[in-house]
């Protein structure tokens, strides 16, 4: 329908391209140059500085660990939410509203919320204390309890980040034609079979979108980790932030930023290859 006027789409995307070029691409190029130069000449000195830092290996490991743990749990919870809500008639909108509230909550606020629960005199310790599980305040967020700290951060991230996955998956489920399910029921398929054989394959596109989006976002996790773990749990974006702000070395911060970008792009490419996602569905 468009062959006669091929310039129309370009006219339509031009404003946004110009805008992003000015406000995103230009500073991005400046940042990349900052990362890969030293005193005005191309150099890997900053990258070397980053790799030899004591927190580098830990921050890479922590970021990946967190992503590997958090993303599948979020997908699973979102699937459970989607399946449950599809069986509900009245009250469905209210339930969905409640479940999507974290979508609008900023990292900053989410960090505060979980800090109020998990700090020494917080509600979690109070609960354990009144149940008699612990005799005195226990600390969950210290460097001596790395596993508890990891779990705490993962829980907070799951709390904050599941909503977006749920929205995408519920939207996907909405599009599964009712007839498929009814047909399956008539042929005597049990609920599990129906779920694995019919629902899951049908919402695959939605799952893929959710997976890519959440993974990219998980690599950028920062504010919640910072609020709960401080320096005890270094992650990549946190290190970038520290180098920029605490150490005031913008070049090393820029290398971290470039590294995060490369990891995110690589993860996206892997998903594209492994899941054979149609590029149309990139988030």
């Amino acid at each position: 329908m468009t062959q006669n006027r091929p310039w129309i789409p370009y006219l339509l995307i031009l404003p946004s391209v110009a805008f992003l070029a000015l406000l995103f691409v230009v500073p991005l190029v400046q940042t990349i140059w900052l990362a890969l130069s030293d005193n005005g000449a191309p150099s890997l000195a900053n990258a070397e500085r980053m790799v030899t830092d004591i927190n580098f290996t830990r921050s890479v490991r922590n970021t990946f660990l967190l992503t590997i743990v958090v993303v599948p749990v979020q997908i699973a919870i979102a699937l459970a939410m989607g399946t449950m809500v599809s069986k509900v008639g009245r009250g469905r909108e209210t339930i969905l509203w409640i479940w999507t509230i974290p979508l609008g909550i900023s990292d900053l606020a989410a960090g505060l919320v979980w800090l109020s629960i998990l700090q020494n005199t917080g509600y979690f310790n109070s609960l354990l204390f009144s149940l008699g599980v612990i005799g005195r305040q226990a600390s969950w967020l210290s460097y001596q309890t790395p596993i508890a700290l990891f779990i705490a951060i993962a829980v907070a991230e799951i709390w904050r980040g599941t909503a977006i996955v749920m929205v995408i998956i519920v939207a996907g489920l909405n599009q599964v034609p009712k007839e498929f399910k009814e047909a399956a029921e008539i042929f005597g398929a049990g609920p599990w079979t129906r779920f694995w054989r019919i629902t899951l394959p049908l919402i695959r596109p939605a799952l893929q979108s959710a997976l890519i989006l959440r993974t990219v976002l998980a690599f950028e996790v920062f504010a919640v980790v910072y609020a709960l773990g401080g320096r005890n749990f270094p992650v990549l974006v946190g290190e970038a932030y520290n180098w920029q702000n605490q150490n005031q070395n913008y070049s090393v911060a820029a290398v971290y930023a470039v590294l995060i970008m490369i990891i995110s792009l690589a993860a996206t490419l892997i998903y594209l290859k492994a899941l054979k996602v149609d590029p149309e569905r990139l988030p």
């Binding site: 400046q30 509230i101 900023s106």
Partner: protein, 283 residues
């Protein structure tokens, strides 16, 4: 589109009845509690005052709360002004990201053109790069342009975040409006522009409203760029970041609550369209 797709899939046959039903509802209740209880607890912290923070063990019951600390927080100099600033920046973000993003979304949905994949790549890049790192180069150019310390400047940066989102989601929305309807309008003598405004726009409007609210939430929650780019005209989150990190705990919780409440309202306002937009965009 909204009502029909949202309409419920009726509950399982009566024979499965009560025990399954009970399981379903307790699952739903547990997940609702999972979302709501942390927010309730932070609200307790916000209303509990200075002493409330140190109570041990905490009961989790609303005892000893008063609105006073919360009101004291709201009355602090700068809170109201920054609240208005946040609205201003978010308004600009919404306007720009829809104005620039929707045409791009339309182009992506309706046309095949060379460079479409490059455009997607550009959009993906904005997702994959931690934007806080771009603050320094951007600040320099903003000062030169006279945009530094203005709400417009903050709005522009937030548009960088929201625009790619708006383009992709509106693409989904326009994909959901049948091409045939538009072509029929052409047959009946409408120009392309007329056809768009008479046929496509009304059908796409609910989705666009939801996109707008999302853009609003993105801007509302952004902290780092806003705090670097402003001195006097702080947005609420930027203002809170500077005062909160070193304020007493009950102030911090009050700040957290102030951040959370608007998002609860926003999500409530668009709950009906939320799923519609993602549904179509992952088709």
């Amino acid at each position: 589109m909204s009502r029909e797709t949202m309409s419920t899939i009726k509950a399982s046959p009566a024979s499965f009845a009560s025990s399954r039903r009970w399981l379903l509802w307790s699952g739903i209740a547990a997940l609702c509690a999972w979302v709501l209880v942390p927010i309730y607890l932070v609200a307790l912290g916000a209303l509990g005052g200075r002493q409330g923070v140190y109570i041990w063990p905490k009961t989790g019951l609303p005892t000893g709360i008063s609105l006073e600390p919360f009101i004291l927080f709201l009355k602090t100099e700068g809170v109201v002004q920054s609240f208005l600033n946040s609205f201003g920046a978010a308004g600009i973000t919404v306007a720009l990201s829809i104005l620039l993003g929707a045409p791009a979304g339309y182009a992506l949905a309706r046309y095949d053109f060379r460079g479409k994949d490059s455009y997607r790549l550009l959009v993906l890049l904005t997702r994959a790069f931690p934007l806080a790192i771009l603050a320094l180069p951007l600040t320099v150019s903003f000062i030169r342009l006279g945009l530094y310390d203005t709400i417009i400047g903050v709005g522009l940066i937030h548009t960088v975040l929201a625009l790619p989102f708006a383009a992709l989601v509106t693409q989904g929305i326009f994909l959901g409006v049948p091409k045939e309807l538009e072509e029929a309008a052409w047959v009946f003598g409408c120009t392309r522009v007329q056809a768009f405004f008479k046929v496509v726009a009304p059908l796409a409007l609910p989705g666009i409203v939801a996109t707008a609210v999302f853009a609003f939430v993105i801007s509302w929650n952004e902290v780092f760029a806003a705090s670097v780019l402003t001195v006097r005209n702080r947005t609420l989150t930027a203002y809170l970041l500077t005062v909160l990190s070193e304020s007493p705990m009950h102030y911090r919780f009050a700040g957290g609550l102030v951040l959370i409440l608007p998002s609860v309202v926003f999500i409530f306002a668009v709950r009906r369209y939320l799923f519609a937009i993602w549904g179509i965009s992952s088709k």
